[in-house]
Amino acid sequence: MNISDIINPANLVYQKTKVMNDTPMHYCPGCSHGVVHKLIGEIIEEMDIQDKTIGIAPVGCAVLAYNFIDIDWQQAAHGRAPALATAVKRLLPDRYVFTYQGDGDLAAIGTAETIHACNRGENITIIFINNGIYGMTGGQMAPTTLKGMKSSTSPHGREVPINGYPLNISNLLAQMEGVCYVTRQSVHTMGSVRKAKKAIQKGFENSMLNKGTSIIEIVSTCSAGWKMTPAESNNWMVENMFPEYPMGDLKNI
């Protein structure tokens, strides 16, 4: 068997989705963003909605998401993605509108926009990447940073009397009447990737059913910010993040 036999299309077992382009990703090794991007691209291709989807990019590591996924995008000011998505969906109700936000974007500076979009039950999908840290700006403390967790602005570990508690925003959002679906997923194993994909697809589908807002939280790693190898990050996430942010559906109606 020579090499051309191996790359024969008949032997194809996996192909990158066409919705993802070939731009080299800027994400660090071990980062969860790339996997989540790929899942979004696959879902858009499989649902055949490339011409009906508008993504809202955040400020944070995913600020350049529009460089990798070939759909129409708007890049929002820090935290304001749900406000943009609200207007886009209200004016184009037959489009799939999703935001892609990190924990600082969604749960700190954009808390008001997040809560009020959910409270109005906007028919949008919110993809929420929670890695407990500000990756883009160099590893500062996030609202979701765990107690005792070190960051560049909590170098001795997050201290509750000074910095308060890790903010479990998905639990909050699940209480809201405008929200139809809240789930917490991860992408660190093959099984978890498959489950996360189903969850994101459900979020996209919900947005056309007039049921309200869907939130898919992906508990993620930031090996650069956490100062660990990718493998160490995955283990650390399972041991430390999952107890604070447990996997599974918080709401599904």
Binding site: Q50, D51, K52, T53, I54, I56, V63, L64, Y66, D70, I71, D72, W73, Q74, Q75, A76, A77, R80, A83, L84, A85, T86, A87, V88, R90, L91, L92, R95, A112, E113, I115, H116
Partner: protein, 366 residues
Amino acid sequence: MNQHKKEITLLKGNEAVAHAAIRCGCDGYFGYPITPQSEILETLTELEPWKTTGMVVLQAESEVASINMVYGAAGCGKRAMTTSSSPGISLMLEGISYLAGAQLPCVIVNVMRGGPGLGTIQPSQADYFQAVKGGGHGDYKMITLAPASVQEMADFTVLAFDLAFKYLTPTMILADGIIGQMMEKVVLPPYQPRRTEDEIKKECPWATLGKPADRKPNVINSLRLEAADMEKLNLLLQSRYREIEKEEVRFEEFDCEDADYIIVAFGICARICQKTVQLARAEGIKVGLIRPITLFPFPTKQINRYADRVKGMLTVEMNAGQMVEDVRLAVNGKTIVEYYGRMGGIVPAPDEVLIALKTKFSNIES
């Protein structure tokens, strides 16, 4: 000829904005209540245009959310607007800078009240600098229209959308509490249908309406990580501002041809000073008035034209003296430019301005 009957109604300036927005095919209004402009959102929700033209009206959770909703809507090529008053506009400045950077057209109305801080709900013109000198971060400008009547509140709502789309820039209507709250006769603009999606695709090929197979993704964005790219965007914006300065200056003159003294005033102050001109001329003092209608672009050349011919100019402003700087730049030292104004929500009266004129130019003879 349009077939619409010219219907004269009596409306508050704020109400006129709401009616004009619906009539000119606005797609989306996003706003947050604040005195003295809440009648705009109140009128829109009373009129329920979503049942007629399909216009979306949404009370947002804050001014920050409002302006970002405008960004989202404008990014889809839609005619979007927001309205607020001074403290609310301060909150919007981040979003306005993003809109300018992303070259998005939209209309923002500021019905100014006194500041700084929470200030007063009484009328003011203290946001002149904020509107015409940038306000938010980065080198950007907004076309800024200063209405002086309820009629202009309606007319400029239509004009502002046209200019915003012509130059792909946020456009501001800089009004004040009096113009917003007072009632005058107004002829509302004729109804124009909202644009269809096909029309938007044609006019705004950059709009994010969903990527068809035959074009590249559209991205609404103000981020340029490479300095060279960022400078390129800046140069593009600046060249557009130069074009606006060349093409879009609007102003009005009263009794300037034989004037010894010229008052320069905008918005409600221009109305007040029209009466001052009448009072002065009744006393034999030759006073004229220039009213800048566009504050950016500023009628620099038009003011300069009189610099050699008058004994002095006086700006009258409801602030601590802001436009006076632009008038001084316009005359470039050729004549004396004085300022008279009131602050904190106090409105100068016509005779008060005349006394100020006589005091500032003590050599005045009737």
